[in-house]
Symmetry: C2
Subunit: 281 residues, 2 copies
């Protein structure tokens, strides 16, 4: 059906989601609507990207509300397969990005990224979009998908969209509904720690250890927060940097109570001035 | 370019090869030419499907003769990338079929099938064929590619073509050029062993161990041959069978001197009669 749209000279945009849609997802849809003549969204809670101890069972399922939001956003096609349609008996094929899948999120969540790249490849093959839209909050996921698209010669362009935040700075996430009101306040510590990195770099600090220490001190000030990682990495390789000299990410993963949240700051080198950086929170 | 052909309502056929073309490859091209309005062939000696001790360095390279043969067979496009075009620096993404990749050929050649499925996916993405043609001599490879195409929702149909043999029964292979004249005679033992299985089944034998023993006895009669495996497996799962009751393969891998050859017999159940089988050598 979508393949058919491609032959009819439509420009096809695709927004893959796991449902529990929030304003971050809708920003992806809006961008796709601007770029493309046909917009496809998928809602598939992909079991293969959840580990044994993770939150697949309790992950929020809000299909009716999601469908209303997508209709309101003028989406042309909603693709909502079930798990046996995506993974029928005998399914055995996986797509894996070596190295990058094993670090950071991948270290804490083994198998997670293989689940992501496998399902995204399948969805791209089914939908055959010209453009696929992803949010920068999942920075490492975006990089993995870009790597996969390049390495496997896929005929889709990955479009990365900004993080959408609440007014007080909390990055939107389907998992925010897990937070109690006390945890909701505590969760702001991720945003504060990233802001601290921005201030330090603006003040001339370049040493990555010093910047990581600054993040850790902010995070340690919040008793409900337990840090998984807080690192400065190269924007392409996601390898730790010693000094901030090129474009980098400050990445944080932290548990607030039992809820694991991630957030990041994009530190962009300004081409004309090697000592100047711009920031995207 | 080929993608363009798809939008122009052409039916695109694709024959991926590693070069060193023989009549087996040309039979694939001929079949593709019958089915399709555009025929694409690739010649790519894929380093990722060769192990450290294998024959990548000495594998026959006959590009000019290959190109002449393909022109004579009326191929529309010859795609001949080099290794750095297919695997540029930073390449990190692999496609893996779990289970099936680890048995038989995969046990002797670890990593081989991951190299095959990865390069075939890349080629299918580049060429975007409606039909892709493979020879049944590489029976396990064909099954892996069929599995990958199904599991990853690829928009290509796999077409399996018969084994092409020399007049005396030797299955065509680019590796046959490695054989000395004594080894060339000895290599016929694979065909003889498979013929023996056919005779035994036709005579009523169904026990897989008995059939495997019969193969082993024939193979042991040839001093230059060293058996890697000689098994009866299910045609779908490639798991060993106890009795031949459904469609099965007799599979042989054997070294003739230093040259490793494979061959197989397809034992097809005849739907109307559960005790009757037809054979494809």
């Amino acid at each position: 059906m979508v393949c058919q749209a491609r032959t009819e000279n439509h420009v096809i945009g695709f927004v893959p989601t796991m449902g529990a849609l929030h304003a971050g997802h809708l920003a992806l849809v809006k961008r796709s609507r601007q770029d493309c003549s046909r917009v496809v969204t998928s809602i598939f809670l992909n079991p293969k990207q959840f580990g044994p101890g993770e939150d697949l069972a309790k992950y929020p399922r809000t299909l009716e509300a999601d469908a209303d939001k997508l209709a309101g956003a003028n989406v042309d096609i909603l693709f909502h397969p079930d798990a046996t349609e995506m993974y029928p008996p005998g399914f055995a094929t996986y797509v894996h990005v070596q190295g990058l899948s094993e670090r950071l999120e991948g270290r804490t969540r083994p198998g997670h990224f293989q689940g992501v790249t496998t399902v995204v490849l399948k969805l791209l093959e089914i939908v055959q979009p010209h453009y696929a839209y992803f949010g920068r909050k999942d920075a490492q996921q975006v990089k993995l998908i870009e790597r996969m698209v390049t390495d496997l010669n896929l005929n889709t362009e990955v479009v990365v969209c900004p993080i959408v935040r609440e007014a007080d700075g909390l990055a939107l996430s389907s998992r925010n509904v897990y937070l109690s009101s006390g945890e909701r306040s505590a969760a702001l510590v991720l945003h504060r720690a990233l802001n601290k990195v921005r201030e330090e770099i603006a003040a001339g600090v370049r040493d990555a250890l010093q910047l990581q220490d600054a993040m850790q001190r902010v995070l340690a000030s919040e008793p409900l927060a337990r840090v998984d990682y807080a690192e400065i990495v190269d924007v392409e390789t996601f390898e730790p940097v010693i000094r901030v000299q090129r474009s980098s990410f400050a990445l944080i993963a932290a548990y607030i109570g039992k809820t694991r949240l991630i957030d990041n700051l994009l530190i962009e080198a300004v081409a004309e001035d090697p000592d100047k950086f711009s920031f995207q929170l």
